[in-house]
């Protein structure tokens, strides 16, 4: 029984069957990649996991609890953090403030009227945030206006913000899309480091096979809304069905 169990999930947009009978089980503390050609339903599946979309039928269980019908912030509080395809950070805020917000969310829950104390007097939060920035090698950037950073740094910050919540499941939606090679490699190294140092489950959607094969322990191939195969990276590489789905070859 995995930490994330997706059973018989269907999702239709008008006449388009975006997801058809998707079954997926992500084992705890593993790194599971979901790959597939454009339009395979990868993002739809991810959106069903985080509460942005509600599947027509089927169930999504996280750690024995259903996530369906819950709001994104509630699902996040259950322990699922999400990294977006384009880095979503608080662009108007400083890097340090960006890092403090998830720590506040972890400590105080979804809402707390905390309107009189000076933010800087929240010593433990500031320290924790600075510690994470230190780990990410971003300590020198903590007073930067975060919108003005490079895409690689924004991605690093976003991943750091997700980690600050100590999630049990980290969802990554094409984390290296549109990145320069050096930034991509940095991101891979960062994710490898996270995997080694923490008890964390990672589910990653990715186009870049280099990223997938350097990180994933298991891979699910999605095509036209249905899982084609699920196996270890070695077996996926040579699988005829995968070649067919990706390259359009008839075997």
């Amino acid at each position: 029984m995995g930490i994330l169990e997706v059973k018989d999930v269907n999702k239709r947009f008008g006449g388009l069957q975006a997801l058809g009978n998707v079954n997926l089980s992500v084992a705890e503390n593993s790194c599971h990649a979901i790959i597939g050609p454009n339009g395979a339903g990868k993002s739809t599946l991810l959106n069903c996991l985080v509460g942005k979309l509600i599947p027509d039928t089927g169930s999504v269980m996280f750690d024995g609890q259903s996530v369906l019908g819950r709001k994104p912030y509630e699902i996040n509080q259950m322990g699922i953090s999400r990294v977006f395809q384009t880095p979503e950070i608080f662009g108007d805020l400083s890097v340090l403030e960006n890092m403090m917000i998830p720590i506040f969310a972890k400590r105080d829950g979804a809402f707390r009227m905390h309107a009189v104390e000076h933010t800087e007097n929240e010593k433990e939060i500031v320290e924790q945030a600075e510690q994470i920035l230190e780990d990410l090698n971003m300590a020198d950037k903590r007073h930067f206006h975060s919108a003005s950073m490079s895409r690689g740094d924004k991605r690093r910050l976003e991943i750091g913000m997700c980690l600050a919540q100590q999630p049990r499941l980290l969802l990554l939606d094409e984390p290296t899309a549109g990145m320069a090679r050096a930034d991509t490699n940095n991101t891979i190294d960062l994710l490898k480091q996270i995997k080694e140092e923490r008890d964390i489950t990672i589910a990653i959607i990715e186009h870049d096979m280099h990223v997938v094969f350097s990180l994933a322990e298991r891979i699910t191939v999605l095509a036209q809304g249905t899982p084609l195969v699920e196996d270890t990276p070695e077996k996926i590489k040579g699988h005829p069905k995968v070649r067919e789905a990706y390259l359009g070859e008839t075997a």
Binding site: V50, K71, P72, Y73, N76, Q77, S81, R82, F84, E88, I89, F90, G91, D92, L93, E97, M100, I101, P102, F104, A105, K106, G109, A110, F111, R112, M113, H114, A115, V116, E117, H118, T119, E120, E122, M161, Q165
Partner: protein
Amino acid sequence: MFGLDKKDTSLLIIVAILTMLAPFILNPFPADSAMAQFNAGYPDLMQRFVIFGIFAIGFNILFGLTGYLSFGHAAFLGVGSYAAVWMFKLLSMNVIPAIILAVITSGLFALLIGFISLRRSGIYFSILTLAFAQMSFALAYSVLTPITGGETGLQLALDDPRILGASQTPEGNIPVPGLFGMEMRETTQIAVGAWEFTFNVGYYFCAVIMLLSFYLAIRIFRSPFGMMLRAIKSNQQRLNYTGLNARPYTLAAFVISGMYAGLAGGLMASMDPLAGAERMFWTASGEVVLMTILGGVGTLIGPVLGAGMIKYMENIISKINSDILHGWFAFMPDGLEDFVVAIVYPFIGKGWHLTLGIIFMLVVIFLPGGLVEGGQRIAKAFKRRKSDDASGKTSTEPAE
């Protein structure tokens, strides 16, 4: 000091000094001189400066921090005024209970309107608040006449109960609002040479409350709550996926800023105990938006500056008439004088809106950060010149 860092403390102290010395600062011209019409140091106008300052500070907590543009904030001002006048009618002429009721009533009203309006964001939120404010105006103007006094407005009468006070003064007049025996309209004039300075109890009462509101606003801006509000403005999607529920945060900001508006409305009624529906009209809501943008959205001091500027123009420029213009340009030859007066005339008197519009346009185009940004640029230019001077003296090396 006061739980603020050094920069904010000095800002607060500067504002405190300015408001306390306002009767001097706003009357820089001798009473008999030709420039005396530019003096703004009379009680009525000074009170308006600080009251609208409070209104704009509160509006800025919502608009400046969360980015939610409410176009119906005057409704809360109006509700506050009505509540305060009712307190004068029923309880006593002491301003404290009136102001407390004004704040509570407008807070509850803001809770209701905010709960509904905040289901939408962006333009839809603005339209919803505008619709609510216009509905409130229409109700106050017609259906709710028994509570609001309808077209004539809500006024005090000789036969009001005033349980804790007197219905009438011994002379048979309606009593005036006061603070434990100190009347709000009490005014002392001090003449220093050719200058005349006016000190008014009501102004100082409002000024102290404005300083408290300003202090509270700084605390909110610097608190984790304020940070969350800025996060909402910056990226609501990220906030949702970071485990935070934006709704209660925006609603709390909306209610706080509604209470600020109610406080301003209560103070207006305390200075002059009548309330009319026109205070809720949509132009009044638009005015506070202008004040905030003119001064600088999201800055601490900006809204106060914007409020001061608009109220100054409304009261001073609108009083200039064509005779005064002819007086100014009398030194010119006749034909030219008439020509210049004809050119300037549309911008004064009732045309002050035109002047305001032009200034507003210039500020939005050239100083998107409002008057505060203007001040910052000037300060920066000064600093640069200073450091240039310094480096010029100490070294002869090129700057780069």
